[in-house]
């Protein structure tokens, strides 16, 4: 680190940042329950960012470069000199770099890799598989990360954290027909019980998928989202309050102004959170060194604060902003079972559900849904949904119960009333 600092200080910059991320990881790939391959890694990613004032501070340019940990001083100096030149070419509106601020560090103590790996593998040995619903394959990635940020302004923050990912493919079969379902879990430390609970739910979905009939043509039927697909709905709100979207005039939202007129559904409340138990994103500071704190973003469907990286936050005049890591959506007024009364289509498996953060457009092909006509519930498959979040702001409903997915807590059931359902 010292040689980078020395070279940067001697290079005639108007500011710099060094991000150094060291990752030690273990990976295990399984076909059924037999080991396909094991992998280990020990890698370091060093990124330099150089700032340069242009025309006496009328503009601020910046350029970034990744430098190999094997680079010698000559290579580092050449890279830094090029960065200074490149930064002088891009005329951005000026802004002040992040200054050091006092904060209480979050202490994460990652468990040793061998211990974490053993927990994950054991968890999969204990999954409630049956003769007809089982695990096709799974992949375990468990990492211990050390992330350090040093800047010309005096910031020097180091964070240690566990970072794990698990991919699971589940099969279910009946009468010679076999289907599969896919899940990707982003975790901090291994939560064996949580993992077993989630995979059990997917095994049940697999069983139901084999009993499906084609999705009927439905008109005016509300859609219920009760899996991680609903995260996309709330990411639309978060994205729209990102300073970068606001500065570009892409956001439909404004602080102090209600999300929609005549709100008849549940009112939306979203908080950014510094710490969420089990999250892989429990950080003290964001990647630019701004301390992360709890912050109310939307309260009762009225935006309270924008958030974002330093440049666009400064353009909006936000001094204490930051890039959010964890977030939580407050539950609504009714329980999940209340929201399931009457006619609805509850979609639990999509090919790829998307809510476009820029346009608010909603898309998704249905792999498994439950159609309720108010009396009976039938598993269905096929067809797609489309629509716009902008049409659902006034009357969307959320369950009072909540559920955590990785770094986010959201209502366990989200109900949207204005979605087009294309049946088969």
């Amino acid at each position: 680190m010292e040689r980078f600092i020395n070279i940067l200080n001697a290079a005639g910059t108007d500011g710099w940042e060094i991000r150094d991320e060291k990752t030690r990881g273990w990976e295990f790939y399984f076909i059924r329950h037999r080991l396909d391959q094991n992998r280990a890694k020990d890698i370091e990613q060093i990124t330099l960012k150089v700032f340069k004032k242009i025309e006496d501070g009328k503009y601020l340019g910046f350029a970034t470069a990744e430098v190999s940990p094997t680079a010698d001083d000559e290579e580092i100096k050449k890279t830094v000199d090029e960065l200074v030149y490149k930064a002088s070419l891009v005329k951005n509106k000026p802004y002040e770099l992040v200054q050091p601020k006092a904060f209480e560090p979050l202490v994460n103590v990652p468990a040793p890799l061998a211990e974490e790996a053993g927990r994950f593998i054991s968890a999969f040995n204990e999954m409630p598989e049956t003769d007809t619903e089982d695990i096709n394959s799974f992949e375990i990635f468990t990492n211990v990360v050390e992330r350090r940020l040093v800047t010309s302004e005096g910031i020097d923050v180091t964070e240690h954290y566990p970072d794990s990912t698990v991919e699971v493919v589940v099969n279910a079969r009946r009468d010679g027909h076999e289907i599969e379902l896919y899940r990707l879990y982003e975790l901090g430390a291994c939560d064996s019980e949580g993992l077993k609970h989630d995979v059990s739910e997917v095994l049940q979905f697999g069983k139901d998928r084999l009993r499906t009939v084609p999705t009927p043509k439905l008109s005016g039927v509300p859609v219920i989202l009760s899996t991680d697909a609903a995260l996309e709905v709330y990411r639309f709100f978060l994205g729209s309050l990102n300073a970068a979207y606001v500065v570009r005039k892409m956001s439909p939202f404004e602080v102090g102004k209600a999300l929609a007129e005549n709100i008849t559904g549940d009112k939306v409340t979203i908080d950014a959170l510094r710490f969420v138990e089990g999250s892989p994103r429990n950080f003290s500071c964001d990647e630019e060194g701004s301390p992360i704190r709890d912050l109310c973003l939307i309260k009762d469907s009225v935006p309270q604060a924008y958030w974002g990286g330093r440049m666009f936050s400064q353009y909006l005049g936000l001094e204490d902003s930051f890039n959010i890591s964890n977030w939580a959506v407050k539950g609504g007024s009714l329980g999940a079972e209340e929201l399931r009364k009457g006619e609805y289509l509850e979609i639990v498996e999509f090919s790829d559900f998307q809510v476009d953060e820029v346009t608010g457009d909603i898309f998704g092909e249905i792999r498994l849904a439950y159609y309720s006509d108010g009396k009976t519930v039938t598993p269905v498959t096929g067809g797609s949904v489309s629509g716009s979040m902008l049409d659902n702001l006034a009357d969307m409903r959320m369950s009072s119960e909540t559920r955590r997915y990785s770094h986010a807590v959201i209502p366990s059931v989200t109900k949207l009333g204005h979605i087009t359902i294309a049946g088969v």
């Binding site: 080991l35 970034t64 891009v90 790996a117 053993g118 394959s137 991919e167 440049m311």
Partner: protein, 477 residues
């Protein structure tokens, strides 16, 4: 000029050979992949301008693969000192032995696999390009992209922002075993104009791109994409919502490419055959499309962003005819999947980067051209849509479902474009139905390489895809 091979990688060769010798004392097979790929990224919008050197494929590091007792293991690292191969060998052995101890404690059984062959092969390839990203004139490029951004913004009061981006990567890879010594160097580039337009509180995104197996000289083509990107964003602002249903459609080459990729790209990745995750395994030599459907896949099929000379397992690039006049002939395969299936690898073993595992991955996936003109194809449609602009896609190889999110459909009534546009459009369906309904294909074809491809929802690699205009029947929503 030829893209020069990395001097850094050349300097590692003696040390890596020694490392292979050391590890061969403990393992029955050892291979090494070392990478040193440099890049350039310039992105200019009305509100943010940046220059960097990190693209999706820039990297420098080494991964070692070893084999013993039926098990393949890997160790990835980026601090190899060629003067101290003993240190690296010791770290590798210690890490992998620690993993084996955990596997023993958990009673884990191994998916027993045969040893990879190691037939002698030497290859040194430096592909042609006009410029290198390391030597590009950044000042001129910033000015060029700034002019595009300014012009795009000025074309309409509805344009909120116009971003022009350019990135170029100089790939250098070295693959070594006891008997193989492979080196390759090539440059690929991609650029895009990305427009956000708004009207009456609704935003729309227009996007046009260029790509190729070439250097930053490619970016001269970006200027002419500006009007197209702005035009498409403005067109979508006034578009209607589509009435869900089944329609006659003509897919533009970009949409055709997305179908190729999602339908029988992922569907015949043969590592999925090993896991029993692909229906394609049961359909070899059976009909999966109309007679007009012939599809190729391989790094040799086109000159674009992933046209390498050998894959990340040291297998020379190939050109596979996956579908021949509607009959599924074969899939694509990495080396370990090939061993397990008893077939030959096709040169499709790819990693996201040196620190990631190899999977069977696509390279260039392309439908063959036909004999029809676009004009005749439009004339043949009673009521339907000409589909344009690709947003994203998702495959379902187990059930042959397909999801394609598209920018727009241009309405066709009685053989004529009406000027009415619907947007956005989600195309879904059952792949054999979609391919089986192809009734016309145009004589021309295009290849697009500006996107990335994930395996599931991770492991991102560069791919390209394309084909001609196709007429078929699809479900739109």
């Amino acid at each position: 000029m030829k893209a020069p091979f990395s001097k850094y990688l050349d300097s590692l060769v003696p040390g890596l050979r020694k490392l292979i010798d050391l590890l061969s004392e403990s393992y029955d097979y050892v291979s090494v992949l070392s990478t040193d790929s440099k890049g350039l990224v310039v992105r200019i919008s009305q509100h943010s301008k940046s220059v960097g050197n990190q693209t999706m494929t820039t990297e420098r590091g080494t991964v070692v693969r070893v084999y013993k007792n039926g098990l393949y293991s890997e160790y990835a690292f980026d601090r190899f000192d060629p003067a101290e191969p003993e240190k690296a060998a010791s770290a590798i052995k210690e890490a992998l032995d620690s993993q084996l101890a955990v596997l023993e404690c958990t009673g884990t059984a191994v998916y027993d696999t045969a040893k990879l062959p190691d037939e002698p092969l030497e290859l040194f390839v430096e592909k042609e390009c006009e410029q290198l990203p390391e030597e590009a004139d950044i000042k001129a490029l910033v000015e060029k992209l700034s002019a595009i951004s300014d012009r795009g913004k000025g074309l309409s009061e509805h344009v909120l922002d116009c971003t022009a981006s350019a990135q170029s990567t100089h790939i250098c890879k070295l693959f070594l075993t006891k008997n193989r010594y492979l080196r390759q160097s090539y440059v690929y580039s991609e650029g895009a104009v990305f427009v956000i337009a708004a009207k009456e509180g609704r935003n729309r995104i227009g996007y046009k791109s260029v790509s190729g197996l070439c250097g930053p000289e490619l970016f001269d083509e970006l200027e002419k994409k500006t009007d197209e990107a702005v035009g498409s964003a403005l067109t979508m602002l006034d578009a209607d919502r589509i009435e869900p249903g089944e329609y006659e459609v003509i897919t533009s080459p970009e949409v055709t490419g997305l179908i190729a990729h999602e339908a029988f790209g992922h569907g015949v990745e043969m590592d999925m055959f090993v896991k029993g995750r692909a229906l394609g395994a049961q359909y070899i030599d059976k009909r999966v499309g109309s007679d007009l459907v012939t599809m190729h896949e391989g790094a040799l099929c086109a000159e674009d962003v992933t046209s390498y000379a050998f894959d990340d397992e040291g297998v020379p690039a190939g050109d596979v005819t996956e579908i021949d006049h509607g009959i599924l002939r074969t899939g694509i395969c990495d080396s370990l999947a090939a061993l397990r299936l008893g077939v030959k690898p096709t040169g499709n073993g790819k990693r996201e980067n040196f620190s990631h595992k190899v999977y069977t991955r696509m390279t260039n996936t392309i439908f063959d051209s036909g004999s029809d003109s676009l004009e005749d194809m439009i004339k043949s449609v009673k009521y339907g849509f000409l589909l344009e602009g690709m947003e994203s896609g998702m495959e379902d190889p187990k059930h042959w479902g397909i999801q394609c999110i598209l920018q727009m459909g241009r309405e066709i009534v009685d053989g004529k474009l009406t000027g009415r546009v619907v947007s956005p459009v989600i195309m879904t369906g059952y792949v054999p139905d979609l391919l089986g309904s192809i009734s016309m294909a145009s004589t021309d074809r295009k290849v697009f390489g500006s996107g990335g491809c994930g395996k599931g929802h991770k492991e991102w690699v560069k791919v390209s895809d394309g084909g001609p205009y196709l007429k078929t029947v699809a479900r739109l929503g």
